[in-house]
């Protein structure tokens, strides 16, 4: 059984992991029963010998109830695991091309055709089986396809991903994978719940289970990684090494780009009661933005440099690419155009999934749709808020109530007091990070200044996000210039027509001379 794909030993380890899983439930049940039987016995003894009937009965009840609640907690989580994914379920009538492709790939990979397909929001694809009987019996097979992934891949890469995913549920060594994965999540959940519980008995149980869990993990992660490798092999066999490798790399970057999109571009819109008309169009644009490719290159380098850890469920990206490169497969599989062409109406599907994601993230808030090109004004208030907070902190750091915040900030920088300024923003900031901390908010304050005082306008771009454009130097460049020191500040002041301000402390009143100077 281990001969075909998994390499020697994997099958044995899988069986051992299954044994440990069964052992876990046995151990848990026995421990809990023993522990609480003990409590009950003590309770009864107290009642019989000390005749403290009320307290005795109470102890018995508490003991019995505690045991029951732990036991039921152990077996209960099965239902929670089984919730459908956040996504839109599509049938063969909705997405005939997708279903046809999935069916064909499943057959090629020797896996069961999924019973359900969900279009989900993120940069991810997954296949899982709904669990029955504590995960021991296989239930319905579900495919989740992330539109974030569909947005950046081409058809060949999408096929590679799907083959990989079906590799997880095809026969042979990998059959135990999903079971082990689910069981791992459940045991971890149990250990966490026990650790968080205040009762001493729970703490003791957590200690025992945690040791057991580590043992289990050593077997299960090895199995899980072997399973990933097997799935990659299947991918290469069907889709070719090039498509498999480029899909892996693209996904690892797009995943981070999507997070950045949500955090930096989408969340601020939500906060302003708006939402992007075309969320996934935004992902495509941000992913393809020429001005950010250098950064993405660095992200890829970093991902490639990572090494597989002992507890990782997946081998590191570099290791997977090396394996893929060494495997034989079809020489060149044509790209076949963007992956989203597999959807019947990709724009509509994206809108529907984006709406689902938005509702979940904003708890159903009323939001007005806005086009990316027209979104600049929606971001401006957030920049203005950052700028106002910065100026307020700068004013405090400067110590003079009537020195404007921007003036005070520039004066502090010119006087070599960047650290004082940075500490007003964040009291904990280390000295060597002071300028870096100041740069962003100072840029925001300068941007707002050129918009309100120099006829500048807010512009939106995928390269820069929100920025102020005017006839002079760009605000971020002005911030960099100012942070060079006194000379830089002088240049910035000259360009913006700002003057120096006096931040010297006001002397105390004194009886030595008349307090009123004028």
């Amino acid at each position: 059984m281990a001969r075909r794909e998994g390499g020697p030993g994997v099958g044995t380890r899988a069986v051992a992991a299954l044994g440990l899983l069964v052992g876990f439930y046995v151990l848990a049940t026995v421990l809990i029963v023993v522990l609480f039987a003990l409590v009950v016995v003590i309770g009864v003894l107290v009642q019989v010998y000390l005749h403290v009937s009320v307290a005795g009965v109470g102890t018995v009840l508490v003991g019995a109830f505690g045991g029951w609640s732990l036991l039921s907690g152990l077996f209960r989580s099965a239902k929670e695991d089984d919730a459908p994914p956040l996504g839109i379920r599509v049938g063969p009538a909705d997405e005939p091309a997708l279903w046809a492709e999935v069916t064909e790939i499943a057959r090629t990979a020797g896996a069961r055709v999924p019973d359900e397909i969900y279009l989900v929001p993120d940069v991810n694809a997954f296949v899982y089986q709904r669990s029955r009987l504590l995960g021991l019996v296989r239930g319905r097979t579900v495919l989740g396809l992330g539109l974030g992934l569909v947005a950046v891949l081409d058809r060949a890469e999408l096929r590679a991903v799907l083959v990989h995913e079906f590799g997880h549920i095809s026969g042979g060594d990998t059959r135990l994978g999903p079971l082990l994965y689910r069981s791992k999540a459940r045991i971890l959940h149990m250990v966490r719940a026990l650790t968080a519980d205040e009762r001493v008995a729970s703490r003791l149980l957590a200690l025992v289970f945690r040791s057991y869990f580590k043992l289990f993990l050593r077997y299960s992660t090895a199995v899980s990684r072997a399973q990933e490798r097997a799935a990659d092999r299947a991918s290469v066999r069907v889709s070719g090494g090039a498509a498999t490798a480029s899909a892996l790399v693209k996904i690892s970057i797009a995943d981070k780009v999507f997070d950045f999109l949500l955090e930096a571009y989408v969340a601020p819109l939500w906060e302003r009661g708006r939402t992007p008309e075309d969320l996934y169009g935004g992902l495509r644009a941000l992913y393809a933005e020429p001005g950010r490719q250098e950064l993405y290159g660095k992200v890829r380098e970093a991902a490639l440099a990572e090494e597989t850890g002992r507890w990782d469920s997946h081998p590191a990206l570099g290791e997977r690419l090396a394996l893929i490169g060494a495997l034989p497969g079809p020489a060149a599989v044509p790209g076949g155009g963007p992956a989203r062409t597999v959807l019947a109406d990709p724009d509509r599907a994206e809108r529907a999934v984006a709406a689902l994601l938005t509702r979940a993230a904003t708890r159903g808030a009323e939001l007005a749709p806005v086009a990316w090109d027209a979104s600049a004004d929606s971001y401006a208030p957030a920049v203005a808020e950052t700028a106002a907070a910065f100026r307020s902190h700068a004013l405090v750091a400067g110590g003079r109530w009537n020195a404007g915040g921007l003036d005070a900030a520039l004066e502090l920088i010119a006087a070599g007091r960047v650290l004082d300024l940075a500490r007003a923003l964040n009291a904990e900031v280390p000295e060597d990070s002071a300028a870096a901390l100041v740069r962003g908010p100072l840029g925001a304050a300068l941007a707002e200044h050129v918009v309100t005082g120099h006829g500048g306008a807010w512009v939106f771009s995928w390269a820069e996000g929100i920025d102020a454009r005017w006839s002079g130097t760009a605000p971020d460049a002005l911030a960099d210039r100012a942070l060079e020191g006194a000379e830089g500040v002088a240049a910035v002041r000259a360009e913006l027509g700002l003057g120096a301000v006096d931040l010297t402390p006001v002397p105390p009143l004194t009886t030595e001379e008349p307090a009123h100077a004028g």
Binding site: R391, V396, A515
Partner: protein, 315 residues
């Protein structure tokens, strides 16, 4: 300096026994908006903030305030309702520090404060030369956490209209204090700058004492005594007193007694019993809530304790 007020039993009376203020307060309680309107309109630039403070302290939300705004819609109607809204907002917030204030409390606080802000904006629009809406907005800026630049902008609007507006200065000291995200340095610089710029006999110089008291609040009693007795601080207290409460041109307006209370407190801690005794004499039982509530939950008791201590020492 001769004592102008007969010694009275110490009491917290926000009217300080002033007849106009008493009449105004009675009208407030009775909902007699005609009298409220007339007394407020007749008061001078230093009297109006004092009267508005009585409006702020009026408990609950009397319906006649709304009726007045609806019927007249004048600047003073909006001003009065706005000033009241500030006290009404703080009533729901409580006076605990932010970390001890619940989300619901903050919600109610901001809601009422924003309503007050709208009234005060309207008042400023209708009476562009009146410093009062801006002085009130120095307080709302702090509560609404609009930042120190906005606070400074509003205070500038006040002093463009009335350079030595007592209450605005007091509120500014609070707004610049460390507990409202400012700093001791910022607060002291403000107080010193304004005191030095003020003509003699103006309560603005008391800002310096107010700032020192604010700084001392984080200290225990022994350290507070040491703080005020330090030569540099004591000398500054004396200079501020000479420039204000001890100056021949010190006004007899009722709420100027607030400055006397502050000096009495600080001089008592500093151990300058002679200077403190002069202030207690001038106070003549007209106790203000601050600073005595810093040393006793019952401000009057705190006041009496300090007054007795000073009396023992000067005998």
């Amino acid at each position: 300096m001769p004592v102008e007020h007969a010694p009275a039993e110490p009491a917290l009376d926000p009217t300080f026994g002033d007849p106009d203020a008493r009449r105004f307060q009675a009208a407030l309680r009775a909902g007699d908006r005609g009298t409220v309107r007339d007394v407020l309109a007749a008061a001078g630039a230093d009297g109006r903030p004092f009267l508005l403070r009585l409006v702020t302290e009026l408990p609950g939300r009397p319906s006649w305030l709304d009726a007045w705004v609806d019927a007249d819609g004048t600047a003073d109607a909006h001003l009065a309702r706005g000033a009241h809204g500030i006290g009404w907002a703080w009533a729901v917030r409580g006076t605990a520090r932010a970390e001890h204030t619940s989300r619901e409390q903050f919600q109610g606080f901001f809601e009422r404060l924003r309503a007050a802000e709208a009234d005060l904006e309207k008042a400023a629009e209708l009476a562009p030369d009146d410093p009062e809406p801006w002085a009130q907005r120095v307080i709302t800026a702090r509560g609404l956490q609009l930042g120190h630049e906005e606070l400074a902008r509003r205070f500038t609007r006040v002093i463009e209209r009335h350079p030595w507006h007592r209450r605005a200065h007091t509120q500014m000291v609070q707004g610049l204090a460390a507990k409202w995200s400012g700093s001791d340095e910022l607060m002291l610089n403000f107080a010193r700058e304004r005191a030095a710029a003020s003509p003699p006999g103006r309560a603005v110089a008391a800002c310096v004492v107010e700032a020192h008291i604010e700084i001392s609040l984080t200290l225990d009693d022994d350290d507070t005594a040491r703080y005020f007795a330090a030569p540099a601080v004591l000398d500054e207290l004396r200079a501020a007193a000479a420039h204000s409460v001890d100056h021949p041109s010190w006004p007899s307006e009722p709420d100027a007694v607030r400055a006397d209370n502050l000096f009495a407190y600080a001089f008592t801690f500093a151990g300058d019993s002679a200077a403190a005794a002069r202030r207690f004499e001038a106070i003549a039982g007209r106790v203000t809530e601050e600073p005595w509530n810093y040393v006793d939950d019952d401000a009057v008791k705190g006041f009496q304790r300090f007054e007795k201590r000073v009396a023992r020492n000067v005998r």
